[in-house]
């Protein structure tokens, strides 16, 4: 009897944690590499970054109001952590035919206008967003290189105040990267945040 209950509890837990992110990564999973087109036309893979200790992978776009509010903070994250071995890799997952403001040309223009210091990649087939389990923009997957593999160390929001970075008293991504750099345990490994649903092709 007790065993049955434990099993049911276990199933319930698995169900709850898996439900909204079908097929995507959970913290602790090994993340896949990719080969995506950057706004400069070059193809970018994580394996290109031999010296990197990990990556701040951000699924983001031009058009979502939340993505716009976080743009400067994404630039700041790259500036702060690139030198420490954790550069930002931004991936735009929206179907440009459903969201014209996210077309490759619009991405190029936005990257230039805002002075993105990081690659801004187009996930044209949306395969990477699906593989990672990105649900919305912006959506961060912090990866840490461990014995040659990229382990997911944090998934979620950048911080806890989209409207005003100065008033955010929980800087989830910064805290997580700081912990990785100091070889400490990442304090918060998963958060949720409101964002814009990714515009999936065929929907």
């Amino acid at each position: 009897m007790k065993k049955t209950i434990s099993l049911i509890v276990l199933l319930a837990i698995v169900r709850v944690s898996a439900a909204p992110f079908d097929g995507g990564y959970e913290v602790g999973d090994i993340a896949r590499d990719f080969q995506l087109k950057n706004v400069d036309g070059a193809s970018v893979s994580l394996s290109d970054y031999k010296e990197a200790k990990g990556f701040i992978v951000v699924f983001t776009c031009n058009t979502c109001p939340y993505a716009k509010l976080y743009e400067q903070r994404i630039i700041a994250l790259d500036k702060k952590y690139k030198g420490a071995g954790y550069p930002v890799i931004a991936i735009q997952p929206n179907d440009g035919s459903l969201s014209p403001g996210d077309s490759f040309e619009a991405m190029q223009a936005n990257s230039k206008k805002k002075g993105f210091s990081f690659p801004y990649l187009l996930d044209e087939t949306q395969e990477i967003a699906r593989a990672y389990g990105a649900a919305r923009t912006p959506h961060v997957f912090l990866l840490n290189k461990e014995s040659g593999e990229l382990r997911v160390a944090y998934i979620g929001a950048i911080d806890n105040n989209h409207q005003d970075s100065d008033r955010a008293d929980k800087k989830y991504v910064e805290d997580a990267v700081d912990a990785l750099i100091a070889s400490r345990k990442v304090p918060v490994t998963f958060t949720k945040a409101i964002g814009c649903t990714i515009k999936w092709s065929g929907t």
């Binding site: 979502c64 649900a135 919305r136 979620g156 929980k170 949720k192 945040a193 409101i194 814009c196 649903t197």
Partner: protein, 160 residues
């Protein structure tokens, strides 16, 4: 012209037929709405004026609000528009579309402090919809866009 406006005001202004005035709330007020025991069935839709799929399905919620009113169902539209956009965008949207459902703007920034309270299965994307039976405590949560006819089927099934 002015006379027509005044006349229209007298014809429609006094009754329940005017479009809604948006209210700005914090999460505890929303929590009270979700968990109030006396209010029948509540359909709570999370949306924003900048969210295209949300705007596209608003009409179904408006229709449901009228269709199911006599069955004790009320529709509340909870907007995630930013505080600065309340008048400029939300009220304008309400007026333009003549919304009759109750419209609230949730003025919160720390989403992780309440998302799981609405539903643990919510990833944080909108549109999302919570249907609650106040008396039984039964809840159903949808993180999706409804197609035409689908919302009324879901509500029909929920109340029967």
């Amino acid at each position: 012209m002015r006379r027509t406006v005044v006349l229209l005001f007298f014809l429609f202004g006094a009754g329940a037929t005017i479009a809604q005035e948006v209210e700005v709330i914090k999460y505890p007020q929303l929590d009270a709405i979700i968990n109030a025991k006396e209010d029948g069935v509540k359909v709570i839709n999370f949306w924003a004026t900048w969210c295209k799929p949300c705007v596209e399905e608003i009409g179904y919620f408006e229709a449901a609000n009228t269709q199911f009113r006599d069955k004790g169902v009320s529709v509340t539209l909870v907007s995630f528009d930013f505080g600065k956009d309340v008048e400029k965008k939300v009220q304008k949207f309400i007026d333009k579309n003549d919304l009759r459902s109750r419209v609230l703007v949730l003025d919160e920034t720390d989403y992780n402090s309440f998302i799981d309270k609405v539903s643990p299965s919510w990833s944080g994307a909108i549109p999302a919809t919570l249907i609650v039976n106040s008396k039984t405590g039964k809840k159903q949560f949808y993180e999706k866009t409804f197609k035409e006819g689908e919302l009324s089927e879901v509500i029909e099934a929920f109340i029967n």
